[in-house]
């Protein structure tokens, strides 16, 4: 008989869930899903050792376990704290957690340039979403924000360190997906920066994934920079047979008409890449004929990318047609018969330059 695995019973915001020993609080919360999932800026389930740094996922452990019911003295990072049997966690039910999270968002935005209008990440930026949900409307910071020069790491990726929130995700990606370690952190404190060893360009078939894992616009795709806003593009699922055995070939094409603007990996509901893709797929296959298109990508309806094409939305019924037995309402009278304000005889397209009040003053001009 197979030995039955003992599951741990955990309560998060008074919702019970049973998870395997060794699960983190964050993953237990994701198992429940919904509003009670703490936001995570640095944790990435596909990257070993990530998490614990951004402090946005702080939660309160109000009961340690059945064996030791004492609460934990401090708020803990839910992405790196494993559950105990009988643990009780408060996330959105704890004002203390909400307050701390607001503080963390303020700290993250302190030196962030807030250049969303010119940032390629806008619309799919984790920091934008986080500050929209948990941040304050204004900053209390009155000092000059720190800035860095932009660096090109390789010919396809640009590093704009000023926007970085130092989540270390790209460091783990570069470390775990590629063989050579050339990408890391220089300096310390608020002067620390992501960089490459002696400004070396990164040349590796999987390095493009650092763009996908970056929660902000610090690492951007140079083949896509300033080409388009993501919410004007139509994401479609596509795949191709990739020669690289480590690459799954399953991607999202961001298209406008027949033109492929960029290729990214597929991301799940927590913004994490489902399968990493190689740089050939990402940068070199930019024509629709390279791909087998599966169909439109489902984007969460809260995202700005899905604006205008909500799935399953119902249009309100227009009762007028029903009342009029199927007839369309009739135009009762033409406004121009009673009003002199509008002059249908002046064709705006024939006016030279922008319209001016003078154009309307001279009758028969």
């Amino acid at each position: 008989m197979a030995e039955e695995k003992k599951l741990f019973k955990v309560k998060i915001d008074n919702i019970s869930v049973e998870v395997e020993p060794g699960t983190t609080i964050l993953n237990a919360a994701r198992k429940i899903g919904g509003d009670i999932v703490p936001p995570a800026m640095c944790y990435y389930s596909k990257l070993q050792g990530s998490g614990g740094k951004c402090r946005t996922c702080l939660v309160k452990v109000s009961k340690g376990s059945d064996a030791d019911p004492r609460p934990m003295p401090k708020l803990v990072a839910s992405c790196r704290t494993t559950v105990m049997d009988g643990m009780e966690v408060a996330n959105i039910t704890s004002p203390e957690v909400q307050e701390a999270r607001k503080g963390v968002v303020e700290f993250l935005l302190l030196n962030h340039p807030l250049d969303c209008p010119v940032c390629d990440q806008a619309g799919e930026c984790d920091l934008q979403n986080l500050s929209y949900e948990h941040g304050a409307e204004a900053t209390r910071y009155e000092f000059k924000r720190r800035t860095f020069d932009k660096i090109d790491i390789g010919d396809k990726i640009q590093l704009h360190m000023t926007r970085c929130i130092l989540c270390y995700r790209c460091v783990f990606t570069a470390d775990q997906l590629t063989e050579k370690r050339e990408h890391g952190i220089l300096g310390r404190g608020d002067a620390s920066e992501i960089s490459t060893y002696i400004h070396q360009s990164l040349d590796n078939n999987f390095i493009g994934n650092v763009i996908d894992v970056c929660p902000v616009g610090a690492l951007t795709d140079k083949t896509f920079r300033f080409k388009n806003r993501v919410w004007f593009l139509k994401p479609v699922d596509a795949h191709r047979h990739c020669e690289d055995p480590k690459c799954c070939g399953k991607t999202v094409l961001w298209m406008r008409g027949d033109e492929v603007f960029r290729v990214t990996a597929r991301k799940d509901q927590y913004g994490e890449v489902e399968n990493f893709i190689c740089d050939t797929c990402r940068f070199d296959k930019k024509e629709a004929k390279d791909w087998i298109i599966e169909g439109p990508r489902k984007i969460d309806r809260h995202s700005v990318i899905s604006q205008g094409h909500y799935v399953n939305t119902v249009k309100p019924k227009d009762p007028l047609v029903e009342v009029l037995d199927g007839r369309q309402p009739k135009l009762l009278f033409d406004i121009h018969t009673t009003s002199q304000v509008n002059r249908p005889d002046i064709d705006l397209s024939k006016i030279d330059g922008p319209a001016h009040s003078d154009d309307f003053n001279h009758r028969n001009s």
Binding site: L58, K74, G103, V104, R140, F143, G187, G189
Partner: protein, 455 residues
């Protein structure tokens, strides 16, 4: 004269060298521990002695040692934290510089107790000349058979390595120290797992302060029962205090933890009073990260009791009216010192030393520094004081390692106890540039609330 255990023989000429150290009773404790007591015997004595970690947190050493995991076939390590970088603390430097063999002997006994065959001394890079002293002492001890293979015929092997840091305060945090020791960037690890389970190279590790390890030697010599006769209550034994600031006799003093703060500052045996006959304004009793106390709360607790130089008495009243013994960096400030400037200095230090790994500390320390800079240089606003309070509250407790707390506490305490001085700086920006606030009412006795009458 207070009784001494660590620095008793520090003034004997040549105590730095093996022969003098040995002829003055050195390595007797090691001999006793290895030959007759055995690891359990030593652990029992250390537990009985009530020795508390001297690095700042004051965690009972015996308990820490008993937490170490002992899986089969996995080596265990002892790491000596000599990365003493807290502003105001310089006691370990004194120990290592003048009686290095005391530390070596302490390391030997502790490694034997823990079953560690390799011990590391991680020393801060700025103590550039001390590694040579330690290396020499290690070589001498090794020559005489106190280190190496099969020590004293017991079959116990031990090697001690000295590793120099590159000058980062954060590497004094035990997990950052281990990372640095492994040759990585000195970022604190996320706990759990604790070093006692997964420390250096993933093996069970104990990290102890220099003074803690040195204190093991007298404990073995005189026994745990005798050791608790020093000090009061749970503050057993002696403590090295590095006194500095506006006092007549700055230096490292070994105190028995049964004297009052007042006696420590004013008696001729220790600090010898305030320099130039000035009055005491404030004091930071345990190194830069512990809360600053005004004179009235320093000498007497809020309950009106005399404050003693012990872990408990200095912490009396919590952070509302108390402070901490910390690492024993005793900084005394006279009436001419400016608390705002002092707080700015500390904020600048923590901003510079933050590792940048987690966001509250990385961004918050710099922000506090800039706000304090404005207040100190006459550009502050009233709202800045509340802003500072809010920033420190959002850093404290929300970071990976205690550096965030250490950065927040001095600012919190300065505002809590010296708010008038901050307000004076804001209201009189021009005057604040030319003179200091002075003593004001900070030494006035605080009325003790009458206990409620019981019927």
């Amino acid at each position: 004269m207070g009784r001494k255990l660590l620095l008793e023989k520090a003034h004997i000429e040549g105590i730095r060298y093996y022969d003098t150290y040995r002829s003055n009773g050195g390595y007797a404790a090691a001999e006793k521990a290895l030959k007759s007591m055995g690891p359990e015997g030593v652990l029992e004595e250390v537990k009985k002695s009530g020795l508390r970690g001297r690095g700042g947190a004051g965690f009972p050493t015996g308990m820490k040692w008993s937490f170490i995991a002992k899986p089969e076939g996995v080596p265990r390590y002892l790491v000596c934290n000599a990365d003493e970088s807290e502003p105001g603390t310089f006691k370990d430097r004194y120990l290592m510089e003048f009686i290095p063999h005391l530390l070596i002997e302490g390391l030997l006994i502790s490694s034997f107790t823990l079953g560690a065959n390799a011990a590391y001394i991680y020393i801060r890079g700025e103590y550039a000349w001390i590694p040579d002293i330690l290396e020499q002492a290690i070589a001498e001890a090794k020559n005489k058979g106190w280190l190496g293979k099969n020590i004293l015929g017991t079959g116990f092997d031990l090697e001690i390595y000295v590793q120099r840091g590159a000058g980062a305060y954060i590497c004094g945090e035990e997990t950052a120290l281990l990372e640095s020791l492994e040759g990585k960037r000195g970022n604190p690890r996320i706990k759990p797992p604790f070093p006692a389970v997964k420390g250096l190279w993933g093996c069970p590790t104990v990290v102890n302060n220099v003074e803690t390890l040195a204190a093991v030697v007298p404990i073995v010599n005189i026994g745990g029962d005798e050791y608790i006769k020093y000090g009061i209550g749970k503050s057993t034994g002696t403590k090295l205090i590095s006194a500095c600031g506006n006092i007549n006799k700055p230096g490292v003093y070994e105190i028995e933890m049964n004297i009052s703060v007042e006696e420590f500052i004013y008696s001729d045996e220790y600090c010898g009073g305030i320099k130039n006959g000035k009055r005491l304004k404030a004091c930071i009793p345990g190194g830069s990260s512990v809360p600053v106390l005004p004179a009235n709360l320093l000498l007497k607790t809020a309950k009106g009791e005399t404050r003693m130089m012990t872990y408990e008495s200095l912490n009396d009243g919590g952070f509302a009216t108390g402070s901490m013994l910390g690492s024993g960096g005793f900084i005394v400030m006279d009436e001419d010192q400016c608390i705002v400037r002092n707080t700015l200095t500390f904020a600048r230090f923590y901003h510079h030393e933050s590792c940048g790994q987690c966001s509250p500390c990385r961004e918050g320390t710099g922000w506090m520094k800039k706000v304090l800079h404005n207040i100190e240089y006459g550009k502050g606003k009233m709202s800045d004081i509340d802003l500072l309070w809010d920033i420190q509250r959002k850093i404290e407790g929300n970071t990976i390692c205690p550096l965030g707390d250490a950065a927040a506490w001095p600012v919190a305490a300065a505002i809590r106890h010296f708010r008038d001085e901050f307000e004076w700086h804001v209201k009189n920006p021009d005057e604040a540039l030319t003179r200091n606030f002075g003593l004001a009412h900070y030494a006035d006795p605080i009325p003790v609330p009458e206990p409620a009458a019981t019927v």
